[in-house]
C-alpha cells in the first residue's frame, strides 16, 4: 500500500504534448527543422530509456541516433493520440529489445554492469555523477528504468505502465521502492 507519496511529474518535456504533436506532424511532412527541434526536446528521454536497457553510454548514444532516424522514417505512421512521447519511447523500447535479443544469441550481455558515465564526459558535477552512476547502480534494472522514465520523460505512471506493458500497481510499487532505496543509499540511513 502506497499512500501519501505525491509526485507530480509535469515538468520538462512532459509539459507540452501539443507541441510535440506538432513537431511530429512536421516530421511526417518531411520537415528537417521539426526533427531537429524534436531531437532537442526528447533526446534526453530517449537516451535515458536506451541507457536503462543497454547499460552503457556508447550503445545508448548509438541507439538514440537510431531512434530518431526511425522517427523520421515512420513519422507518417504517427496518429495524434495524445501521447507523442509514448510513441517515441515505444520505438526506442522496441529497438532496444531487438538489439538485446540479437546480442543475446551470441553473448550474455544481460549481466553487464550499470555504466552511465560516458568516457569523454568530464564536466559532470560530483553529485550528479554519484546519482547517475552509484545510486542507480543499487537498483534493479527494472527499478532503474522506472525511475529514469519518470524523471526525464514527463510520462505518468499509468503511461509508463502502458509503455512497458506492466501492471500499474507493479510500476507504482517498484518505483516507490526504488526511490526509497536511493534515499537510503544517499543518506546512509533509513530515510523513511
Amino acid at each position: 500500500m502506497l499512500v501519501g507519496m505525491r509526485s507530480k511529474t509535469e515538468y520538462a518535456q512532459g509539459e507540452n504534448r501539443r507541441e510535440l504533436e506538432q513537431l511530429l506532424s512536421g516530421v511526417a511532412a518531411g520537415d528537417c527543422n521539426a526533427l531537429e527541434d524534436l531531437y532537442g526536446r526528447t533526446r534526453t528521454a530517449v537516451y535515458g530509456l536506451a541507457l536503462s536497457y543497454l547499460k552503457n553510454p556508447q550503445d545508448a548514444q548509438d541507439m538514440t541516433q537510431d531512434v530518431f532516424v526511425q522517427i523520421w522514417e515512420r513519422g507518417e505512421q504517427y496518429r495524434p493520440t495524445g501521447s507523442p512521447m509514448g510513441w517515441i519511447l515505444t520505438i526506442c523500447r522496441n529497438l532496444c529489445l531487438m538489439q538485446l535479443r540479437n546480442a543475446d544469441r551470441r553473448e550474455n550481455l544481460n549481466d553487464e554492469e550499470w555504466n552511465a558515465i560516458p568516457d569523454r564526459e568530464t564536466g559532470l558535477p560530483q553529485e550528479e555523477k554519484l546519482l547517475l552512476q552509484d545510486t542507480l547502480a543499487v537498483l534493479s534494472e527494472e527499478e532503474r528504468r522506472l525511475v529514469l522514465l519518470h524523471a526525464v520523460t514527463g510520462l505518468k505512471h499509468r503511461e509508463i505502465a502502458g509503455l512497458l506493458e506492466m501492471p500499474l500497481s507493479t510500476v507504482l510499487s517498484k518505483y516507490h521502492r526504488a526511490l526509497k532505496k536511493m534515499r537510503v543509499y544517499l543518506k546512509g540511513d533509513d530515510a523513511l
Binding site: S7, Q77, R105
Partner: protein, 500 residues
C-alpha cells in the same frame, strides 16, 4: 534530498550526458527518406549483426511437373509476399530482368520505383533491399507478428537454396535496421505450371499460391480464392493451427469492431488497427480503436465466427481532464440513461443538501468527450454546487463547490464523501470509501454476486496523487479488474476478460 530533487538532479545529469548529435541523425535521414534503403548503412556495433528474431524455414521441395524455358534467360523467379505480392525474375548472374507488382498493394509499394521498372538490371539483393525497405516504410512489417515470405523458384534446387539464403540475410538486415520484428518465411519451389496458373488467376505469387495450397491440404473445404486474399501472416498461422475453418479476415474484423465501437461511443474514430492472432488460442483478431477524444478500445474477435470475445476500454489520461473520469459500463447493449430526476438526487445526496433547501437548480444533459453527462447546478445557503454526473452509470465525474465569497473549494468536500452508487454508505469516512465499499462497488458494477467470486484482491494504491482501490477478482471464466477512486467511489477504469 527529496524524491523530486533526486529526479531533477538525475534529469540534469542525463541531459548533460545525452548525445547532442542532430547532424548525425540528419545525415542518415536525408539519404533514406523515400529512397532505397541501402544495406549496411548502419554503423555496426558489436551487437548489431546476428540473426533475425524469428526465421521460419518452410521448405517445400518437390512439386512434380517441371516446365522450364531454357531459352529464356530467366533462371530463377523470386517472390516476396506480405500482403503485397511482388515477383522478380532474375537471370543466372542474379540480375533482375523484370519486377512485377502482382496486386494493388504491391503497386503502391513499387510506386516510387516506377512500378518496378527502376529495379530492372539491378542486382537481386539490391532490389530486394529496396522493396523490403518500402514495405517497412509503408507499415506492412511493423507488427511483431507480421511475416514476409521469400520464395525462390528454380529448377536447380542448389541454386535456389543458395539464393534463398542470401535473400534471407538481405531481408534480415533491412528488418534489423528498421526495427521490424517480422518473421521471415522462406521456401524454395521447383517451377510448376499449374501453380503458376493458379497464382496468376488470383493475382498472387506462386510462392503464396504454394502456401495457400498447404492450407488447402489441411482443410479441403476452404476456397482458394478466399485464402488468397489473406496475408502471409494469416496463412502461416492458419496452417500452423491446422486450418480449422475460414478466418473472417482483417476487413471484416475491423467492420465488426467498428460496429461495436459505434454502439458504445458517440465519438468518432481517430485511429484503428487490426492485428490477426490466428496462432493464439482461441484464434482471434485484435482490433484497436481510438476515438478522437482519446478513449482507447480494444476488441478481440473470434477469428472464425467474428464473435466478440473481449472488449476493453480505457480513458486516456489527458493533460487537463479531471482526476475522476470513470468509464461507462460495457457491454454496449445497455446504453442506459439515469434520467434528470436521478441525476438530481445523486447530486443532492452527494452534497448532503435536501432539495427543499436549494434554489436556482439547473440540470442539463451534455456530451463530454463522447460521454453523456448530466450537469447539475444548484445553490443552497451561500454555497454554489456544480456536478457532472455520468448519464449511464450515475457516477460523479466532477464536483465543485463555491462559497459566496467566490472561493473555489473543490478539494475539501463539505460533506463526507459517498460513493454515488451507494447512497446509504456509512458516513464518517472522510476521503476513503474503504476496502469493503470498493469491493461492493466493483461487484455491483460487474453485476456479479459476492458468493460467485473467487481470487478477490483489493489493494489501495496511489496514482499521480490520487488514491485508488484496485479490485481484482474472478467469477465464472471471467477475470475482472477495477480501479476505483478511493474518495468518490467512482469507477475510473475497468477491464474484464476471459480467464483461460
Amino acid at each position: 534530498m527529496t524524491d523530486r530533487e533526486i529526479e531533477q538532479k538525475l534529469a540534469q545529469a542525463l541531459e548533460k550526458t545525452a548525445p547532442k548529435d542532430i547532424q548525425g541523425v540528419l545525415s542518415r535521414c536525408e539519404e533514406r527518406k523515400g529512397t532505397v534503403v541501402f544495406m549496411n548503412q548502419k554503423k555496426k556495433s558489436r551487437r548489431l549483426s546476428g540473426l533475425i528474431a524469428a526465421c521460419l524455414m518452410v521448405a517445400i521441395l518437390g512439386g512434380s511437373g517441371v516446365y522450364y524455358q531454357r531459352a529464356n534467360a530467366v533462371a530463377s523467379v523470386v517472390s516476396l509476399d506480405v500482403n503485397p505480392s511482388i515477383e522478380l525474375k532474375v537471370n543466372r548472374s542474379e540480375k533482375v530482368l523484370v519486377c512485377t507488382p502482382l496486386n494493388e498493394d504491391a503497386k503502391a509499394i513499387l510506386a516510387d520505383m516506377s512500378n518496378g521498372a527502376d529495379l530492372k538490371g539491378a542486382k537481386l539483393d539490391v532490389a530486394v533491399n529496396a522493396i523490403v525497405g518500402s514495405l517497412v516504410r509503408n507499415g506492412y512489417l511493423s507488427s511483431i507478428s507480421s511475416a514476409i515470405m521469400i520464395s525462390v523458384e528454380d529448377k536447380d534446387t542448389a541454386r535456389a537454396e543458395k539464393l534463398q539464403r542470401e535473400l534471407t540475410n538481405t531481408v534480415d538486415d533491412v528488418l534489423q535496421t528498421s526495427a521490424s520484428k517480422a518473421a521471415v518465411l522462406t521456401q524454395t519451389l521447383t517451377q510448376d505450371a499449374g501453380l503458376t496458373q493458379q497464382a496468376r488467376e488470383n493475382s498472387i505469387s506462386t510462392g503464396k499460391a504454394a502456401l495457400v495450397n498447404r492450407v488447402l491440404a489441411l482443410n479441403s473445404s476452404l476456397k482458394f480464392d478466399a485464402l488468397a486474399e489473406l496475408s502471409v501472416e494469416e496463412l502461416k498461422d492458419l496452417a500452423e493451427a491446422g486450418a480449422p475453418a475460414m478466418p473472417i479476415g482483417t476487413d471484416k474484423a475491423m467492420d465488426l469492431a467498428a460496429a461495436a465501437f459505434g454502439k458504445v461511443s458517440a465519438a468518432k474514430m481517430a485511429y484503428s488497427a487490426v492485428d490477426p492472432e490466428l496462432d493464439e488460442s482461441p484464434a482471434h483478431y485484435e482490433v484497436e480503436i481510438k476515438s478522437q477524444s482519446g478513449e482507447e478500445f480494444e476488441y478481440k474477435l473470434d477469428a472464425y465466427t467474428g464473435a466478440i470475445l473481449e472488449s476493453k476500454r480505457e480513458v486516456e489520461d489527458g493533460a487537463e481532464t479531471p482526476a475522476v473520469q470513470p468509464s461507462r459500463p460495457e457491454p454496449p447493449a445497455a446504453v442506459q440513461d439515469i434520467g434528470y430526476a436521478k441525476a438530481k438526487s445523486i447530486a443532492l445526496n452527494h452534497a448532503g443538501v435536501s432539495e427543499s433547501k436549494t434554489y436556482d437548480m439547473d440540470i442539463e444533459l451534455d456530451d463530454e468527450d463522447g460521454t453523456l453527462v448530466y450537469e447539475v447546478e444548484f445553490k443552497s445557503g451561500n454555497m454554489e454546487y456544480s456536478y457532472e454526473i455520468d448519464a449511464a452509470s450515475g457516477a460523479v465525474l466532477e464536483r465543485k463547490y463555491e462559497g459566496a465569497d467566490g472561493t473555489d473549494d473543490d478539494t475539501i468536500a463539505p460533506k463526507p464523501e459517498k460513493p454515488d452508487r451507494q447512497p446509504d454508505a456509512p458516513s464518517g469516512q472522510k476521503t476513503d470509501i474503504g476496502n469493503a465499499k470498493a469491493k461492493s462497488i466493483a461487484l455491483n458494477h460487474a453485476g456479479v454476486k459476492q458468493d460467485a467470486v473467487y481470487d478477490m484482491e483489493v489493494g489501495l494504491d496511489e496514482e499521480d496523487g490520487i488514491l485508488v482501490y484496485e479490485v481484482e477478482f474472478k467469477s465464472g471464466n471471467m477475470e475482472y479488474s477495477y480501479e476505483i477512486d478511493a474518495a468518490s467511489g467512482a469507477v475510473l477504469k475497468y477491464e474484464s476478460e476471459r480467464d483461460d
